[in-house]
């Protein structure tokens, strides 16, 4: 594999991890979030600061990064998850802008210069780069997807599905809306934080611009394209939207046109996403591999 392909793939895998987190919030629990890049950024900045100024190795810093992500998720989720629909969407956009502004204007976070000189991740005394870093990201993607899969099979996950479908009915069955929405939100922000930490150590430089609102939209687009609520949807969405700009490179200025056309066609013909409920692939291809009991 060329180093170009490895770079693209690594970024796709990191984004897939973040979109898996978004899937828990939006796909499983049905809470819209348009500020997911903020939590990606919080993970990246925590990892960057802990490894540069804190001098901690990635492996020691990682649990701290995940705890910081979870706590900020809790702190920001607590007020915003009391809102619904458009209000929640707008609030999460606000979170994105505020977090980005803090990164940009608070000197502690490096200001406009960002944070540079983030060390590479060491495994058995060896610095990971190229394909090896990609394998590490794939390992974490595997872990995240396994957790997502498990989450869909436990009662906490089922509670989130119920809240997504009918909050009043779910509440009448003993499900506390705040508790389970927060749980999904925290799980989602932890995955975003993990993706952020990997991103910081891969780019070895972070700045506030890397975590702007358009990135949140792009995460959501990946999720919607791949199929909300499905296990593989985030991966498929990240692959397609990550690879397409590269594949469309020869089209130069027409790139955005094709991009828009594709999204429109998806909305028209496959609104549930590529792997979503009642999508063509799920209807036509899945039955060939899976024999479901009637």
């Amino acid at each position: 594999m060329s180093s170009y392909a490895i770079t693209i793939l690594t970024l796709i895998v990191i984004q897939a991890i973040v979109v898996c987190g978004l899937n828990v919030i939006v796909g499983y629990a049905g809470q819209i979030s348009l500020g997911h890049a903020a939590f990606f950024g919080i993970g990246a900045y925590s990892a960057a600061l802990l490894s540069t100024r804190g001098g901690l190795s990635f492996w020691i810093a990682l649990p701290l990064v995940l705890i910081i992500s979870a706590l900020t998720g809790l702190l920001l989720g607590l007020p915003s998850l009391r809102l619904k629909h458009d209000f929640l969407a707008i609030t999460t956009i606000g979170i994105n802008f505020i977090v980005q502004a803090i990164f940009l204007y608070v000197p502690f976070f490096g200001g406009a210069l960002g944070i540079s000189g983030i060390p590479r991740i060491q495994v058995f005394g060896e610095a990971l780069k190229g394909a090896h870093f990609l394998y590490l990201c794939l390992f974490f993607l595997g872990v995240v997807m396994a957790i997502c899969w498990l989450f869909t099979r436990v009662f906490a996950g089922l509670a989130c599905f119920a809240l997504r479908e009918e909050e009043a009915a779910a509440t009448s069955m003993g499900i506390s809306p705040v508790r389970f929405k927060l749980l999904a939100f925290m799980l989602g922000t932890v995955f975003a934080g993990l993706g952020g930490a990997l991103y910081a150590h891969y780019m070895r430089f972070v700045s506030a611009d890397d975590f702007s609102f358009p990135l949140s939209v792009s995460f959501l687009a990946m999720l919607v394209l791949g199929g909300m609520g499905s296990l593989l949807g985030p991966l498929v969405g990240a692959l397609i939207l990550g690879a397409l700009p590269e594949l469309f490179r020869p089209l130069a200025e027409f790139r955005i046109l094709f991009y828009a056309l594709m999204l429109l066609l998806m909305i028209r013909f496959q609104p549930g996403g590529i792997l979503g409920e009642s999508s063509l692939i799920r209807k036509r291809l899945f039955p060939l591999f899976l024999r479901r009991q009637p």
Partner: protein, 255 residues
């Protein structure tokens, strides 16, 4: 033991100037089927929503099984063994019928951290949920997506879910409305078996024939107040009730 499972004392809720429920008192005795009747807008569903914790009362008290429950959130009241259905059905549409019941079966799990690692896909859980579906006659539709069911089946699904939650009291909000004739008699029989299983039932019903035949006692509401209370035979003879439903004798105004 207190014969009343549920006691509503001087219950009121005001929405701005509207007194939707205004000083209502009644009790539901253990093991009985109590009907809550009244014309549209009488405050029956609001009363249900007060009991199940959807709304907080402006004043008054609600006692359930020796515990004061007004002010508790819905999910905590449900956990005490009070299940309810909704006048406008609220299925979890993209989940299967079986999964809908499994959500309700989780009632004992949700307050504890163990809901983070206890699987709902076990054979035991499925069997228990299937038993409930069997009881309401939906067993053969268990794998169907709930959003695809017709109204009659959705009402039965709501009862199955409420049964999983309400091992002490069921609140049924117009479970008979929109049903065909034979569905009505099936549902009547079902509610009788629920009563025989020792579960107390409080139901809102518009269908006179059904409520007269099914209920042990009836409470009639009008304009947020209790109008009458008694056995079906007493209620049928009650002047005020007849007036509320049919209008005063000799009154020419048809509106």
């Amino acid at each position: 033991m207190n014969p009343a499972l549920l006691e509503v004392k001087d219950l009121s809720i005001h929405f701005g100037g509207l007194r939707a429920v205004d000083g209502v008192n009644f009790a539901v005795n253990r093991g009985e089927i109590l009907g809550l009747l009244g014309p549209n807008g009488a405050g029956k569903t609001v009363t249900f929503n007060l009991i199940s914790g959807v709304y907080k009362p402006t004043s008054g008290e609600i006692w359930f099984d020796g515990k004061r429950i007004n002010g508790l959130p819905s999910y905590a009241i449900a956990a005490l063994g009070l299940g309810r259905t909704f006048q406008i059905v609220k299925p979890f549409s993209t989940l299967t019928v079986l999964e809908n019941v499994l959500v309700a079966r989780g009632i004992t799990r949700y307050p504890a951290p163990s809901c983070l690692w206890t699987s709902w896909k076990s054979r035991q859980e499925a069997q228990a949920a299937m038993a409930l579906l069997d009881r309401v006659g939906l067993a053969d539709l268990a794998q169907r997506k709930a959003g695809l069911l017709p109204l009659g089946n959705l009402r039965r699904l709501e009862i199955a879910r409420a049964l999983a939650v309400g091992h002490k009291l069921l609140l049924l909000d117009e479970s008979f409305s929109g049903l065909r004739h034979e569905e009505i008699s099936q549902l009547e029989a079902l509610i009788r078996t629920i009563q025989q299983a020792g579960i107390t039932v409080l139901l809102i019903e518009h269908n006179m024939r059904v409520s007269m035949a099914l209920c042990d006692r009836i409470v009639v509401m009008e304009y947020g107040k209790k109008l009458a209370e008694g056995t079906p035979a007493v209620i049928q003879q009650d002047e005020q009730v007849i007036e509320a439903y049919l209008g005063r004798k000799g009154e020419s105004d048809a509106s």
